[in-house]
């Protein structure tokens, strides 16, 4: 597998990344090299192998310490107290609310046209 410049830009768009001119020039070769290294794996026959899902399934206990009898048990979904200092890291605050950029920009634009 190899990736050209157009494919790199498409992936960057999906990943919500803006790339610099240097990155656009370097990434096609760099990422194609890595993908080529994966070829040894994609050609391997693992038809009858179950994919590994999670380490958690092997736990003998639930997160609260009960014997789980081989099953995976989740903790109770209880509301706890959150730490108010978390607000100190907020980008923009107004009256205890976190202010974020306008999410429905396009929808709004259409409405104002009418």
């Amino acid at each position: 597998m190899s990736l050209n410049k157009e494919e790199i830009l498409k992936i960057a768009n999906l990943a919500k990344l803006e790339l610099s001119a240097e990155e656009i020039a370097a990434f096609p070769n760099q990422l194609s090299d890595v993908l080529a290294y994966f070829d040894k794996l994609t050609s391997l026959n693992l038809k009858n192998v179950e994919p590994f899902i999670s380490e958690l399934g092997f736990s003998d206990f639930s997160p609260t310490g009960e014997k789980s009898g081989g099953k995976y048990l989740l903790r109770a979904d209880e509301v706890g107290q959150s730490d108010a200092s978390i607000k100190d890291q907020f980008v923009k605050v107004e009256d205890d609310y976190l202010v974020v950029p306008q999410v429905l920009a396009r929808f709004d634009a259409r409405r104002t046209k009418k």
């Binding site: 760099q30 794996l41 310490g65």
Partner: protein, 477 residues
């Protein structure tokens, strides 16, 4: 550099020094702080400005005879881990001014035993790299040769101990990020089994592979620190309820000669640097002289492990780093942008090229049409790699391998060629993929006086075997 009573101390010596009043925690901490302030290696990103006050408090506790396991012992922390009220940058512009709102469980447990934090160490951005060159705060230099890298991603923690800026440190290991820098800097580095130490408060890189672990000058110190950090945590569902053995006592009691050692032939290829091969031969000779059973074994899927790792890890990275969007915290834009442009601008300015490469690889691997060929295939490979280890650990207790294919490489040597940088992880990634534990031990130096690391691997939750054999080797070679 002149040696004094503070030079190159381990935990045991520090605690004895406090008890016998040879020095105080305040004096010892001042010694490290002075060295950190004059550091030319760029090992630290931030210093804890409360540490001297904390050392004084520790001294009064010591004077009252109230000594816990680490009272007044200074420690350096990789800047991937959160300490409440201190900066936590992830070595990224994205979190340049971020202050952690809570403390990682592993660190909380050390603090509960009296440890004091010197500061946060430099690393590759969000723990992604093998050279520590991928940090928004600049590269770290290897104290053994400043034209070379200290390894990565926990390069600052390793360089800090090797240069005696701290006696012990914490790192994180997702594909070798503790063991490889330990090898490059001549230290002991432990990656505990997956689930042995809580990951709560460790910035998530690849959640199914990440583990927090210690760097130290001795195996004893590593055992001592794991003893304190290991165990369950209601904040991390993957932290195991398995009983934490008394690693430190087991170290003295367990008979290392009863352990069987395996040499996986796939790790002894021609690509290995001759000096590293010699260090392994020396270790094998010693084990045989001590009548320890050493046998050749095979892990047939080893050659595919690195490819599987570089599929699984970026897939998880692309999901985990999606949270860094500048909406709630971290780097953000002041312009009035629509949401899509906001994301792209914030993430372009906040992430390094390597983070972008990994996010893009992961995005591609998980995208429609490629998921089965890459991600699912890698998860299947994970199953057979785990089976490889299970079969081998039915026959032997510990595997002996090199930690790295070469000793520390030059700064800039692999920067333009990401694949060559990724190959530096070739002997370490399998342990993360299989969830088992691994220890890197220093074993002499090469022709350029650069440290060599050897790796011991044991099955999940069998860290005591690593400590037993590692301590035996350390004490006798």
């Amino acid at each position: 550099m002149t040696e004094n009573k503070f030079s190159n101390l381990n935990i045991e010596q520090i605690l004895a020094g406090f008890k016998n009043k040879t020095f105080s925690s305040f004096e010892l901490t001042s010694y490290y702080l002075d060295k950190i302030k004059n550091d030319k290696l760029n090992a630290f990103i931030s210093i804890n400005d409360q540490v001297l006050a904390e050392a004084k408090k520790a001294d009064s506790k010591i004077a009252q005879g109230e000594m816990a396991k680490l009272t007044g012992v200074p420690i350096a922390i990789k800047d991937i881990l959160l300490v409440k009220g201190q900066r936590a940058t992830g070595a990224s512009k994205m979190l340049e001014n971020y202050i952690a709102p809570y403390t990682a469980t592993a660190i909380k447990k050390l603090e509960d035993q009296g440890a004091i934090i010197l500061g946060k160490t430099n690393c590759d951005e969000f723990a992604m790299g093998a050279s520590n060159e991928n940090s928004a705060f600049g590269p770290v230099l290897n104290p053994h040769d400043t034209s070379r890298v200290p390894g990565g991603s926990s390069g600052g923690s390793a360089a800090a101990i090797a240069a005696d800026l701290a006696p012990i440190a914490l790192g994180t290991d997702t594909g070798g990020s503790i063991r490889q820098p330990a090898a490059f800097c001549g230290l002991v580095g432990l990656k505990p089994s997956y689930g042995r130490v809580s990951r709560y408060g460790s910035m998530a890189m690849a959640s199914s592979l990440d583990q927090i672990g210690p760097f130290s000058k001795s195996v004893k110190d590593a055992a001592y620190l794991l003893q304190i950090m290991a165990g369950r945590d209601k904040y991390d569902l993957s932290a195991s309820y398995n009983v934490v053995p008394d690693y430190f006592s087991l170290l003295k009691n367990q008979e290392p000669r009863k352990l069987k050692v395996g040499l996986p032939k796939e790790y002894f290829s021609d690509a290995l640097a001759p000096s590293i091969k010699q260090a392994l031969d020396k270790t094998i000779d010693f084990l045989q002289e001590q009548k320890i059973v050493v046998e050749k074994v095979s892990l047939p899927y080893t050659e595919y492990a690195l490819a599987a790792y570089y599929i699984l890890m970026p897939a998880e990275v692309s999901s985990n780093l999606a949270r860094l969007d500048g909406l709630r915290f971290g780097h953000h834009e002041n312009n009035d942008l629509n949401l899509d442009d906001w994301y792209k601008k914030v993430r372009a300015a906040g992430f390094s090229a390597e983070s972008k490469r990994r996010i893009m690889l992961g995005t591609y691997i998980l995208s429609a049409g490629y998921y089965d060929a890459y991600y699912k295939q890698a998860q299947k490979l994970r199953t057979v790699i785990k089976q490889d280890f299970q079969k081998v650990f039915a026959k032997v207790d510990v595997l002996l391998t090199p930690t790295t294919p070469t000793t520390a490489f030059k700064l800039g040597e692999k920067l333009a060629d990401p694949l060559s940088m990724y190959l530096a992880d070739i002997f370490t990634v399998s342990a993360n993929i299989a969830g088992i534990c691994g220890l890197s031990l220093p074993m002499g130096v090469d022709e350029n006086n650069l440290p060599i690391g050897i790796q011991l691997l044991a099955d999940s939750f069998q860290e005591e075997k690593l400590f037993s054999l590692g301590n035996f080797i350390e004490q006798n070679i």
